[in-house]
C-alpha cells in the first residue's frame, strides 16, 4: 500500500516536472550566448560608450569581435547590444572591466555599484584603467588575439602571465573601498604595448571611487609587497646588483602618539642574487635594498597622503585605537599626518651558482 503511494507520488512529481519543462523558460545553450571577456567603459560628452570584446567560438579557430554602443547608462547600452546581436549577450564570464582614464577621474562609483548589483557580473571581475583611448587598446587586443581574447585576462591572472608589478583589483575591492573609512584601492593602468599586447604603466590611486593620482610600476611592486600578494620571483634592479625576491613577510605595528598615528613596518625579504655590477659585498647589497625600498615607500606614501588616499589600508591598523567617529575622519584628520618608520630586513639566501663576497 505504502509502496504504491510513493510510486504514485513519484510519477506525479515527474509529470509536473515534465509539464514545467513543456512551458520552457528562457534557457539558452552556451553556443547561443555571447560571452564577452572584456568590457570597456568610456564617456564622451555625458554619454557612455561601452565596448565589448567577444570571442567568437567556432570549432576550428576562435576569433574576437568588438562591439560598441553608446547610450546614457551602461545597462541601456547592454540592452541595445543584446537587441542587435544574433546571440544573447551574457556577462557571466566577464573577466576584465576597462575604464578610460577620464571616466575614472570623474568617478566610478555609479558604474561599480551597478556592476555589484547586477546578477550576472561576478564580483571577482578585475578592473583596469586604460591610459589612452579605449579603441586602440581594443584593436590591439583583437589583432594580437590567438585564443579568443584571453590575453588580457591572462595578463592579470595569477597562474598565467601576472607579474608582481601589476596589481589585481577586483570590483568587490573597489566597492569595499567606496564604503570604507580606512581603505582605498589602486587600479592597474595599462596601455597597448609596442611589441607585447599590453603594457603595464603602474596603477591609479582611487579614493572613494575617484582616481586621484598614479603610482608607477616599482611602487606597485611595493604595494603588492605591502598587501602580501606574493611577490615571489620578482627581480629588483639596483645600482650594484640585481636580486630576486624568494620570500617576503611584513610585520606592522601601529601606535597612536599624542593624537597622531605612527607606524612601524618591517619587511623581511629573502633574496637570491642574480647579477652584480662590480663586486659588492652582501652587506652592501642588504643596505642598498633597504635604502631603496624605504625611500620608495616613503615617496609613495607622501604622494598618497597628499591626496588623502589610504591605498595601503593603513587605517585598518587603527580600528581598535580610534573610535568609530574618529575613524570616519581617518582620511582627513589622521592619515595625512601619519608617520611611518619602515625598515627592510634582507637575508641574502645565496648568490646563485657563483660565490659572492660576504
Amino acid at each position: 500500500m505504502k509502496n504504491n503511494v510513493s510510486r504514485w507520488l513519484f510519477l506525479a512529481f515527474m509529470l509536473t516536472g515534465a509539464a514545467a519543462l513543456s512551458g520552457c523558460w528562457d534557457i539558452k545553450d552556451i553556443n547561443h550566448r555571447s560571452l564577452p571577456i572584456v568590457m570597456g567603459v568610456k564617456e564622451t560628452a555625458g554619454t557612455y560608450q561601452v565596448l565589448l570584446l567577444i570571442p567568437d567560438a567556432s570549432p576550428s579557430q576562435t576569433n574576437v569581435k568588438i562591439i560598441s554602443q553608446t547610450g546614457s547608462t551602461i545597462n541601456e547600452i547592454l540592452d541595445q547590444i543584446d537587441k542587435n546581436m544574433e546571440n544573447k549577450v551574457d556577462l557571466l564570464h566577464l573577466k576584465v572591466i576597462l575604464f578610460e582614464r577620464s571616466v575614472a577621474e570623474k568617478g566610478l562609483s555609479q558604474s561599480i555599484e551597478s556592476f555589484m548589483r547586477s546578477r550576472d557580473i561576478s564580483n571577482k571581475t578585475l578592473t583596469a584603467i586604460s591610459e589612452g583611448a579605449l579603441e586602440p587598446l581594443f584593436e590591439k587586443l583583437k589583432s594580437s588575439s590567438s585564443n579568443g581574447g584571453m590575453e588580457i585576462y591572462d595578463f592579470f591572472e595569477k597562474n598565467a602571465g601576472w607579474s608582481p608589478e601589476v596589481v589585481q583589483t577586483r570590483i568587490w575591492e573597489v566597492f569595499r573601498s567606496m564604503n570604507s573609512f580606512t581603505r582605498d584601492v589602486v587600479i592597474p593602468t595599462i596601455k597597448p604595448g609596442h611589441t607585447t599586447t599590453i603594457e603595464s604603466t603602474g596603477a591609479a590611486m582611487i579614493k572613494n571611487g575617484k582616481m586621484v593620482g598614479v603610482i608607477d610600476s616599482e611602487e606597485t611592486l611595493l604595494y603588492n609587497l605591502f598587501k602580501g600578494a606574493g611577490t615571489q620571483g620578482k627581480i629588483e634592479v639596483m645600482h650594484r646588483a640585481t636580486v630576486k625576491i624568494v620570500a617576503d613577510r611584513l610585520t606592522r605595528s601601529s601606535v597612536m602618539r599624542e593624537g597622531s598615528a605612527m607606524m612601524i613596518g618591517r619587511l623581511h625579504l629573502k633574496v637570491t642574487v642574480l647579477e652584480t655590477v662590480g663586486d659588492p659585498t652582501v652587506a652592501e647589497i642588504k643596505k642598498e635594498i633597504d635604502e631603496q625600498l624605504s625611500t620608495r615607500l616613503q615617496a609613495m606614501l607622501r604622494t598618497a597622503q597628499s591626496k588623502e588616499a589610504d591605498i595601503l589600508g593603513l587605517g585598518q591598523l587603527y580600528r581598535d585605537k580610534l573610535s568609530r567617529e574618529n575613524l570616519r575622519q581617518w582620511r582627513s584628520k589622521y592619515y595625512p599626518f601619519m608617520k611611518i618608520e619602515f625598515k627592510v630586513h634582507v637575508i641574502v639566501q645565496d648568490g646563485g651558482l657563483l660565490k659572492i663576497k660576504s
Binding site: 552556451i30 550566448r33 567560438a57
Partner: protein, 442 residues
C-alpha cells in the same frame, strides 16, 4: 484404470517415457521413467546389483528396507507423474499394486564447473555456480565448511515445481530476517516461480523499484561470505546465481574478493567504485546543466571550447545528450546479444566510425562524446550487473532535472535518489544500513 495401463496411454503423448519389463530378484517388474532424464542401461545394471543385494539379505524387493527405493503406497496418477517429472524412476510389479520409487543413474544435463561469465575474479576462487542445484549447494558447502550452515529446501510453484534451497548460518543470521523469509517460503505460492520477477512478487517486493532486492552473484565465495555475515542465500534450481538477501547499497561497492588484496588497495577499489557511480550518474546531467543553464560555473576556457564544439549543433543540449545516450544504450544492449566473434566489430563500428562521424556531421559536440564515454565506462565499475543497470536509469532523472533547473536540479535529483535509496528496504532492513554480522547500524 490400472496404473501401468495409464502409463501406457501416457506413452503416446510423451515420446521419451519408457516402460521396460525386466526381472528383478526373480520377479517380473516394469521399470518406468524418462529416457531424456535417465541413463537406462546404467540404471538397469545398478538395479540388478541392488536387487541382488536385497535378495542376499533375504528382503523382499518391494519392502521398505530392501534398499532399492522407497515404496509408494497406492499412488495416484499425479503422484506418479510428479515422480517421473522430477527425474526419478519407478518400479512397479506386474500386477501394478506395488510401487517403488528410486533414484536412477541420471543423464548429465548440466555444465561442468566453469569460471564465471558475468563476474571476473582476478584473485580468488574462480569456480562459479551452474544450473544444477545440488552442485550449487555443494559449492557453497565447500566454501563454507562450518557446522553453522543450515539448508532448508522448498518446492515452489504449482504446475512447474521448482526446487528452492534456503541457506543461512545459524547464530549469525538476524532472527527476524530469517523468520520473515521462512514464513514467506512456507506459504508455498500457487503461482509458478519462473523468474526473479515472480519471485520478488512472491516475496511482496515492489515490482517497479529499480533497486534490486536480491543481490545476485555467480560466485560461491560471495555467497559463503554473505552467509558468514548473517545474510540469507537462496538457490533456485536451474538458476546459476545465488540470490543474497537482503540487498544493500554497500553491495554495489564491496566485494568479498577485495579482501584478497591489501587493505589500502581494497579501500582504493571501493573509493574508485563510489567515484564511478558518481561520475556515471552525474556527468551527463552536469554537462546539460552547465551547457544550457549555468555556464557561469565553467571556467572561461572550457566554456569557450564547449561553445566552439557545439557550434552548428542544431538542437538543445538535452536532446543532444539523449540522442547519444540512446545510441550508447543500444550498443550496450546489442553487445549482450552479439555472438562473441562479432563483438569486436561492433566496438569498431560504434566507437570509431559512429563517434568520429557524429562529431564531423555536427550532430553532437565532441565534448559530449568524451563525457558520455566516461560515464558509460564508469557505469561498470559497480559490482553486479543488476546494480549497473539500475544506475543507468537514475541518470535520466538527473538529466531531465538538470535541463530544467541546472545545477540546482542536478543536486535536488541527487537528494531525490538518496531519499529513494533510504526508503528502500528488504524485509524491514533498510537498503542503506551498514551491515555487520548479527547487528545492524542505522
Amino acid at each position: 484404470m490400472l496404473l501401468p495401463a495409464f502409463l501406457k496411454s501416457r506413452q503416446a503423448r510423451d515420446m521419451d517415457l519408457f516402460l521396460h519389463s525386466l526381472y528383478l530378484a526373480e520377479e517380473p517388474v516394469v521399470l518406468a521413467g524418462y529416457t531424456s532424464l535417465i541413463d537406462l542401461p546404467q540404471t538397469i545394471v545398478m538395479l540388478r546389483q541392488l536387487a541382488l543385494n536385497a535378495d542376499d539379505a533375504g528382503k523382499p524387493l518391494f519392502d521398505r528396507d530392501s534398499g532399492v527405493g522407497t515404496p509408494l503406497r497406492e499412488p495416484g496418477e499425479q503422484e506418479v507423474l510428479d515422480a517421473l517429472a522430477a527425474g526419478d524412476a519407478l518400479i512397479c510389479s506386474e500386477s501394478g499394486d506395488r510401487w517403488l520409487r528410486l533414484v536412477p543413474v541420471g543423464r548429465t544435463l548440466s555444465r561442468a564447473l566453469e569460471s564465471p561469465t558475468t563476474e571476473n575474479v582476478l584473485r580468488g576462487a574462480i569456480s562459479a555456480f551452474n544450473e544444477d542445484l545440488d552442485t550449487n549447494v555443494g559449492l557453497v558447502k565447500k566454501h563454507m565448511s562450518s557446522d553453522m550452515l543450515r539448508i532448508r529446501s522448498y518446492t515452489l510453484g504449482l504446475s512447474q515445481r521448482r526446487k528452492t534451497v534456503l541457506l543461512y548460518a545459524e547464530g549469525k543470521i538476524r532472527e527476524p530476517l530469517l523468520r520473515s523469509i521462512v514464513q514467506k517460503l512456507e506459504t508455498l505460492p500457487d503461482r509458478d516461480i519462473s523468474d526473479l520477477q515472480a519471485l520478488s512478487a512472491f516475496f511482496g517486493f515492489s515490482k517497479w523499484s529499480p533497486i534490486t532486492r536480491f543481490n545476485t552473484s555467480e560466485l560461491p565465495q560471495e555467497a559463503a561470505f554473505a552467509l558468514e555475515h548473517g545474510k540469507a542465500v537462496l538457490l533456485l534450481d536451474r538458476f546459476p546465481f545465488a540470490l543474497v538477501l537482503p540487498s544493500l547499497l554497500s553491495d554495489m561497492f564491496v566485494s568479498q574478493n577485495d579482501r584478497n588484496f591489501p587493505v589500502i588497495i581494497m579501500f582504493s577499489f571501493r573509493i574508485l567504485r563510489i567515484l564511478g557511480v558518481l561520475v556515471n550518474v552525474l556527468l551527463p546531467g552536469l554537462y546539460v546543466a552547465l551547457v544550457s543553464v549555468n555556464p557561469e560555473v565553467l571556467r572561461i576556457e572550457i566554456a569557450l571550447s564547449i561553445a566552439g564544439s557545439r557550434e552548428g549543433v542544431p538542437y538543445p543540449s538535452l536532446v543532444e545528450t539523449l540522442l547519444l545516450l540512446l545510441v550508447l544504450e543500444l550498443t550496450l544492449e546489442s553487445a549482450i546479444r552479439l555472438p562473441k566473434t562479432i563483438g569486436p566489430t561492433i566496438t569498431m563500428v560504434g566507437g570509431i566510425i559512429l563517434g568520429q562521424a557524429v562529431v564531423q556531421a555536427k550532430l553532437v559536440s565532441n565534448v559530449l562524446i568524451i563525457i558520455l564515454a566516461a560515464s558509460t565506462i564508469a557505469n561498470f565499475t559497480v559490482i553486479g550487473f543488476q546494480n549497473a543497470t539500475a544506475l543507468r536509469l537514475y541518470k535520466y532523472l538527473l538529466l531531465v532535472l538538470s535541463a530544467m533547473f541546472g545545477v540546482l536540479g542536478l543536486f535536488i535529483g541527487i537528494v531525490v535518489i538518496c531519499a529513494y535509496f533510504s526508503y528502500g528496504n528488504t524485509f524491514g532492513i533498510p537498503y542503506l544500513s551498514r551491515w555487520k554480522a548479527g547487528r545492524r547500524y542505522g
